[in-house]
């Protein structure tokens, strides 16, 4: 590897610094993962969770490095404020945030990317200058990482929840949901009220996108109407009434036979090509 580096840090095109990561410290001969880091800089994103100068973007995070593990690993460069681990680079999914943990869809345990937010910008630079040959350690004596059987047993144990706590989560969500629904209903009612005549007979017309169409129309309803009309048309038509119609049907019949004949011929040719006519 040719480090085009300042000092020992291994910087590759694209502005990433390659760091190495070891699972545990007591195993010095083990193979290392390479983690690429770079300061987080995305033009379109104006996310306050990830301030541009203090956020480190980390690539190739092994599946056993969870949020807490990463914050431990990167704390050697400075105080870590928050860590955000996701499957793909990009803005955090906001829809899942409001949901209770029990109802969240489990994410695949693959290699992921992470956004590490430090307290100070200097930490980002420290990380970027870190040399390749000094590996980061994921699992240490103070903060061991559970994998394998121990993790699965813990997972299983964690999956046992009390009915009451589940009920509480459901109740909370439904309460929020109901209030949201109610608010929406009120808003709709207000809108409807606005469209009614006031005492003097005036109607206020707004240009809202959903217009004044009272009945919600759907695709299926549309299609149904179209079909009905089609049927009506068909009923009016007479079959085999004119002689040209009769001729046409006969022509169609022969064409059908011909088409079938051609299809069969092709089928035979395929079978012959596969030597399917050797009976034994």
């Amino acid at each position: 590897m040719a480090p085009s580096a300042n000092k020992d840090a291994c910087v590759i095109p694209g502005g990433f610094t390659v760091l190495s990561l070891r699972f545990s410290e007591d195993d010095s001969a083990a193979a290392l993962h390479q983690v690429c880091v770079k300061e987080h800089r995305v033009r379109s994103e104006s996310n306050t969770h990830r301030p541009a100068d203090r956020t480190l973007f980390v690539l190739n995070v092994p599946p056993y490095c969870t949020q807490s593990v990463l914050s431990g690993v990167f704390s050697r460069f400075g105080v870590v404020e928050s860590v955000d681990v996701c499957v793909k680079p990009g803005a955090a999914d906001s829809s899942a945030s409001g949901v209770c943990e029990l109802f969240r869809v489990q994410e695949p345990q693959c290699f992921r990317v992470a956004y590490v937010v430090f307290r100070s910008a200097a930490s980002v630079n420290a990380a970027k200058r870190h040399p390749l040959h000094d590996p980061l350690i994921a699992s240490t004596a103070e903060r061991p990482v559970r994998t394998g059987l121990r993790k699965w047993i813990q997972q299983y144990s964690g999956s046992l929840v009390k009915a009451s706590s589940l009920q509480a989560a459901v109740d909370q969500f439904m309460e929020e949901f109901d209030t949201r629904k109610q608010q929406e209903a009120e808003r709709l009612q207000q809108e409807a009220e606005q469209q009614q005549e006031d005492e003097e007979g005036w109607v206020k017309v707004t240009k809202g996108s959903r217009g004044a169409k009272a009945r919600p129309h759907t695709e299926t309803a549309n299609q149904r109407t179209l079909q009905k009309e089609e049927k009506k048309k068909q009923r009016k038509e007479l079959l085999n009434f004119y002689s040209w119609q009769h001729r046409n049907t006969q022509r169609e019949h022969i064409a059908e036979l011909r088409k079938k004949f051609e299809e069969d011929k092709q089928r035979i040719a395929v079978l012959r090509a596969q030597r399917k006519f050797k009976p034994y």
Partner: protein, 1153 residues
């Protein structure tokens, strides 16, 4: 039009194929069909219609092509195809088949020249001195193809050149077909060699054999002769033949069969009346009898053998005359021969060979059952119809127009032979050697074939003329009778001396009909059909003596079972005072005893052993061995049962010897109880509209159905708040408890929210509610989760999921900017529909199928066990496998639905390996809901959109277009591998089953080949929960947290449900490294995970943020590329599976580029 003509002429010689405008190609094709223009180059013909890769494409014809004015010829042709055949396809298929089996001109020339050479050489056989009949010293280079038993023989013999040599049989008639081209050459023994009294005491057959030996000795000097061997005609040792093959490379292309026959009218046919005796008892036994004068017992078989030798020439004459009248005669016979050959009926003793087929066709023509102008297909069909509807064992037929007065009448034939078909001379029964059972088999096959041919959804051509029906794949149970020498003793026991004499000492042929009728009587209504394999024609070198009767391969007896009665352990006989009781006692011997039944009757009865379904499958073996031992002195060791060998691999309980039928039933019963209790629950906010099972165990197809367990609490940790048990790190993995999925649909109501997340919360609330109610009313331990509620009942875990029927619709809804509500399909909705609608439906449908076909579940379980052990179960999913097996039962053509697990499994392997997945959808007509039109629609749709459809397409009534179960997997490569493995497994398995001398280990086909994989991850056996179910049961055993004994029906602590570390490990591996490698595992106790790197995983890729996972950076100059970080990945295999992985075994060093 003129321009086109020009084009055409050009294509004929100069312009290469690709440059020809398409329309003219099509035109050419059209004209070829009408017979105006014949293409000179056969290769080209194939080229313009087939796509290169052998895939069917939709045919596109231009408007002009379709609507141009038809010619009269074309119209006729199209009409004929439509009216006479089901479609033009069948007609073309038949033509192709006939082309394939017909002898080529080249082959005919070869035959003719060889026959010429041999004939000329035979004409100069030197004359020898006259010597005694039993003096064989003059033969130096060859042996006599005859048993000289008894040795005493009087008469003189000398060699002399044949009176004439002529071709007989199928070759001159034109009905000879490939393969095994066999040309019959009749050499007429000069009358000076024979004596009018030769008919008696095998003198003539001996002379014939000696003459043949003389010919063989003479022919051995001919250079053109490659190899010579003896055989005998239809297994009849009295009629040896000499097989001569040309030397050089053409040796295997043609066989000359030399028959030595007497001059056509040497002996009077009336001497061979079936009631006459031609073998003297004194001579045969060597014991002089006191009472003289009586004519001795009739020897019909011996008589017909000798008589048959007189007639080949006149038969040929007769058949030639018939075939000259009917142009399609030859082709019709050829089709019939192909059909017979696939059913293994055309060879061996008592066969229905090509000669008989020709004679049958001649009979149909002469009695005007078929017309002279019919085509080959019609002739064939009518022949099948005749066979199916006429019972020649009762009403024989005769070809003799006006038999002479001395010819025997039909009743006389019936008295002597079991099947009667008299030849044109009126003296010979052509089917003298055939047993009733073989004829019944022919009848059965013929009626079955007609049934399939009338079914428009079955590809009749493929199933009837192209699929071989080997015995082991056709019949539910096969019994092999080995050590045939023991049949000598049975002849004695059954006192068959006269018959033995009639068959000239062939004790196998003598005893066979008696043994079979004995079995038939004993098995009674347990079976639909009993057939036997035809003893094969022996073939031996001219330099060795003929093989003994006992040396032939074992006799196979095949049974088609009637599952209603077949496996019952009780044989109930007549009441004790009934006169039939004695008969019953005689049949069953000491096993018969008087029993009193619950209905008060006291009857004779036989009780066989067997408690589980697995045991009961052996009842037939017990019956057969008992009967054979009792009545025919055949010891148990001679009978080998082919049919239960595979049961071992799906044994659930090794001690009780059950293969899952009983366990499945228990699960279903427990489920029924739960379902009833769910229906009866009161206090739910909405009522339940349906309770449906959605698990394999509820349709009897779970490979190892869940077994109720009783827990050892000390084995587990308990969670503090007493929610349930938790596995412990320091103990082996607890026994795996399968959650049995049950879908509960709740009634629709306006109260359901119309938003997915809210629906999920409401469902969670329902789960809690259901759990609480079940605990309250029935004291079941329940555990509610957002997606399901686990119910612990009867030592089984049921996973109840609430479903709302509108949820998939809601998932599909979306709003356009214009405010229109549209439905767009998405993966989430499909997955939900699959779980809540398709799975329950499939489960209930297949549950119904199990009720109709008792061994459906067992076949499914064998098939899935095989798939799992070959690492294929994740590619051919359980539901897909179930459907494939269901198709074996619903569309058994050309077989009958399987009635034993083993035969079903063999057919599964055959279907998987031979089905043309590329060009055909597998249509499974569940509940018979698909009409003929539906099937055609599915096929057409399939062809027109082949590319976008899954590689393995399985259509069923509820799923005509998508093939939901095979949508994602298998991939082309995995299907290819499955096909290959199935073909190889089938070959190995069938060889082993049919040949008892091979090493008997059926588990061979359940052991996956591991050499193709790159890395093997060996697991710690203690942590593999289903270890005991492994194909090769492990030696070590350890506690898995259960006690023996009956579990409590309710209460107790919640066990560890659905905790399988191996599956968790696999899913983590696939999540992390799925894009680099494939992981294979046998879910039933496999202790190895096989890893295969993806072929393109190791190519260096340019550095990208989306392509960095598990890779490392390499710098080449200024360009950064990434390659998989293999060492770290291997390290991760260990880290992720800590506590489960024993060791990694690296098989290849593929990553070192």
């Amino acid at each position: 039009m003129k321009k086109k003509r020009k084009d055409l002429t050009l294509t004929e010689d100069t312009i290469p194929e690709t440059e020809v405008p398409e329309s003219s190609q099509k035109e050419e094709a059209m004209q070829k069909k009408t017979g105006k223009l014949r293409s000179k180059d056969p290769k080209r013909k194939a080229k313009d219609t087939v796509s290169d890769d052998g895939v069917l494409r939709p045919v596109k014809l231009s408007k002009k092509e379709l609507y141009k004015a038809p010619t009269v010829e074309e119209l006729n042709q199209l009409k004929e195809a439509e009216n006479l055949f089901h479609c033009s396809l069948l007609k073309m298929q038949m033509e192709e088949l006939l082309k394939e089996v017909a002898l080529s001109e080249h082959r005919k020339k070869l035959v003719d020249s060889f026959v010429q050479q041999v004939t000329e050489f035979l004409d100069c056989v030197p004359e020898s001195e006259v010597m005694e009949l039993n003096d064989v010293s003059w033969l130096s280079r060859v042996e006599v193809p005859f048993f000289l038993v008894p040795a005493a023989a009087t008469g003189k013999f000398h060699m002399e050149a044949p009176a004439s040599v002529s071709l007989v049989g199928s070759y001159p008639l034109g009905t000879c077909i490939k393969p095994r081209v066999c040309v019959d050459l009749a050499v007429i023994i000069p009358s000076s060699v024979l004596h009018p009294m030769d008919a008696i005491n095998q003198r003539y057959p001996r002379k014939r054999a000696l003459y043949l030996a003389g010919l063989a000795q003479h022919l051995s000097f001919l250079k053109a002769v490659g190899s010579m061997s003896y055989s005998c005609l239809h297994g009849n040792r009295l009629r040896p033949v000499l097989l001569v093959k040309p030397s050089g490379k053409d040796g295997d292309k043609v066989t000359l069969r030399i028959h030595a026959i007497p001059p056509p009218d040497f002996l009077k046919p009336s001497r061979f009346h079936p009631r006459k005796n031609n073998v003297k008892t004194e001579w045969f036994t060597g014991v002089a009898k006191e009472e003289q004068g009586a004519a001795g017992p009739a020897t019909p078989h011996y008589n017909s053998t000798v008589l048959g030798d007189h007639l080949p020439l006149s038969h040929l004459q007769f058949l030639s005359a018939v075939s000259a009248q009917c142009p399609a005669f030859r082709e019709g016979v050829a089709l019939l021969k192909v059909w017979l050959r696939h059913r293994e009926l055309d060879q061996g003793a008592g066969c229905f060979c090509g000669f008989h087929a020709s004679m049958l066709m001649a009979y149909l023509l002469s009695t005007h059952k078929v017309g002279k102008t019919m085509n080959a297909y019609q002739l064939f069909r009518n022949a099948l119809h005749f066979l199916a509807s006429t019972d020649l064992t009762e009403n024989g037929i005769t070809l003799a127009k006006n038999p002479d007065s001395k010819a025997p009448a039909l009743p006389e034939f019936h008295a002597a032979f079991s099947v009667v078909f008299v030849d044109p001379s009126g003296h010979l029964n052509l089917l003298a050697e055939m047993t009733t059972f073989t004829y019944k088999q022919i009848q059965h096959e013929a009626s079955l074939s007609l049934k399939f041919w009338d079914d428009p959804t079955v590809d009749g051509f493929q199933t009837l003329l192209m699929t071989p029906k080997s015995m082991i794949r056709t019949y539910d149970n096969v019994f092999q009778l080995g050590e045939l020498v023991k049949l000598q003793a049975s002849c004695k026991k059954l006192s068959l001396l006269n018959e033995l004499m009639d068959h000239s000492g062939n004790y196998v042929q003598t005893a066979l009909p008696f043994i079979l009728s004995l079995l038939k009587r004993g098995l009674g209504e347990r079976i639909h059909l009993l057939v036997h394999s035809l003893p094969p024609d022996p073939e031996w070198s001219v330099k060795s003596p003929p093989p003994k009767h006992k040396d032939q391969s074992p006799l196979n007896i095949g049974l088609l079972l009637n599952l209603e009665h077949a496996l019952s352990v009780l044989e109930r006989g007549p009441p004790a005072d009934n006169p039939k009781a004695a008969e019953f006692r005689q049949l069953w011997g000491s096993r018969s005893e008087l029993r009193r039944f619950q209905d008060g009757a006291i009857t004779e009865a036989v009780l066989w052993s067997g408690s589980s379904a697995c045991d009961k499958r052996l009842v037939l073996l017990e019956i057969i061995t008992h009967l054979l031992h009792l009545h025919a002195d055949i010891p148990h060791s001679c009978v080998r049962f082919v049919g239960g060998q595979l049961d071992d691999v799906i044994k659930v309980n090794k001690e009780l010897c059950t293969t899952g039928e009983e366990e499945s039933l228990k699960v279903v019963q427990s489920y029924d109880d739960l379902s009833r209790k769910l229906w009866q629950l009161e206090g739910l906010p909405l009522s339940i509209t349906s309770v449906q099972g959605a698990h394999q165990a509820l349709r009897y197809t779970q490979v190892f159905p869940p077994v109720p367990v009783r827990l050892d609490y000390s084995f587990f940790d308990r969670k503090k708040n007493h929610l349930g048990l938790v596995p412990r790190e320091d103990k082996p993995c607890p026994t795996y408890i399968t959650p049995i999925k049950v879908i509960v649909h709740m009634e629709g109501s306006g109260k359901w929210p119309s938003e997915q997340l809210a629906i999920r919360h409401i469902k969670a609330a329902f789960h809690i509610c259901l759990g609480e109610l079940l605990t309250k009313h029935h004291n079941y331990k329940c555990h509610a989760k957002p997606n399901y509620v686990d119910v612990w009942k009867d030592g089984l875990a049921f996973r109840v999921e609430v479903a709302y029927h509108r949820e998939p619709h809601i998932l599909r809804e979306s709003l356009t900017p214009e405010g229109m509500l549209i439905y767009r399909d998405n993966a989430e909705a499909q997955a939900l529909e699959l779980e809540t609608q398709h799975k329950p439906f499939l489960t209930s449908t297949l549950h119904g199928l199990q009720q109709q076909h008792g061994c459906f579940g067992a076949v499914c379980r064998l098939a899935k066990r095989w798939l799992a052990s070959q690492f294929l179960l994740e590619d051919v999913r359980e539901e897909a496998a179930d459907l494939i097996v269901a198709s074996l039962f619903l569309h058994p053509a050309p077989f009958t639905p399987p009635s034993s697990p083993q035969v079903g499994f063999l057919r599964f392997l055959h279907l998987l390996s031979s089905f043309d997945w590329k060009n055909n959808p597998l249509i499974v007509n569940l509940n018979g809901k698909l009409t003929v039109a539906d099937t055609t629609d599915i096929k057409n749709e399939f062809v027109s959109s082949r590319e976008s459809l899954p590689t393995m397409f399985i259509a069923s009534p509820n799923d005509k277009k998508v093939s939901i179960w095979t949508k994602k997997v298998p991939s082309v490569q995995m299907l290819q591998r499955a096909v290959m493995l199935a073909a190889e497994s089938l070959r190995v398995l069938e060889n082993q089953l049919i040949d008892s001398s091979q090493k008997q280990d059926v588990r061979v086909v359940f052991r996956p080949p591991l050499d193709a994989y790159d890395v093997l991850i060996h697991l710690i056996p203690q942590q593999v929960p289903l270890l005991a179910k492994a194909v090769d049961a492990p030696a070590l055993s350890f506690q898995q947290g259960t006690f023996k004994g009956e579990p409590a029906t309710s209460g107790g602590a919640l066990p560890v449900i659905d905790y399988n570390p191996v599956q968790l490990y696999l899913s983590e591996l696939r999540d992390a490294f799925g894009d680099l490698a494939l992981f294979f595992h046998d879910p039933f106790g496999g202790t190895v995970i096989a890893v295969l790197w993806k072929p393109n995983a190791f190519e260096p890729r340019p550095f990208k943020t989306s392509l960095m996972n598990a890779r490392r950076v390499e710098m080449n100059g200024d360009v950064a590329t990434v390659v998989p970080n293999v060492e770290a990945i291997l390290q991760d295999f260990r880290i992720i599976g800590e506590g489960l992985v024993k060791k990694l075994e690296l098989r290849t060093e593929k990553w070192v580029v």
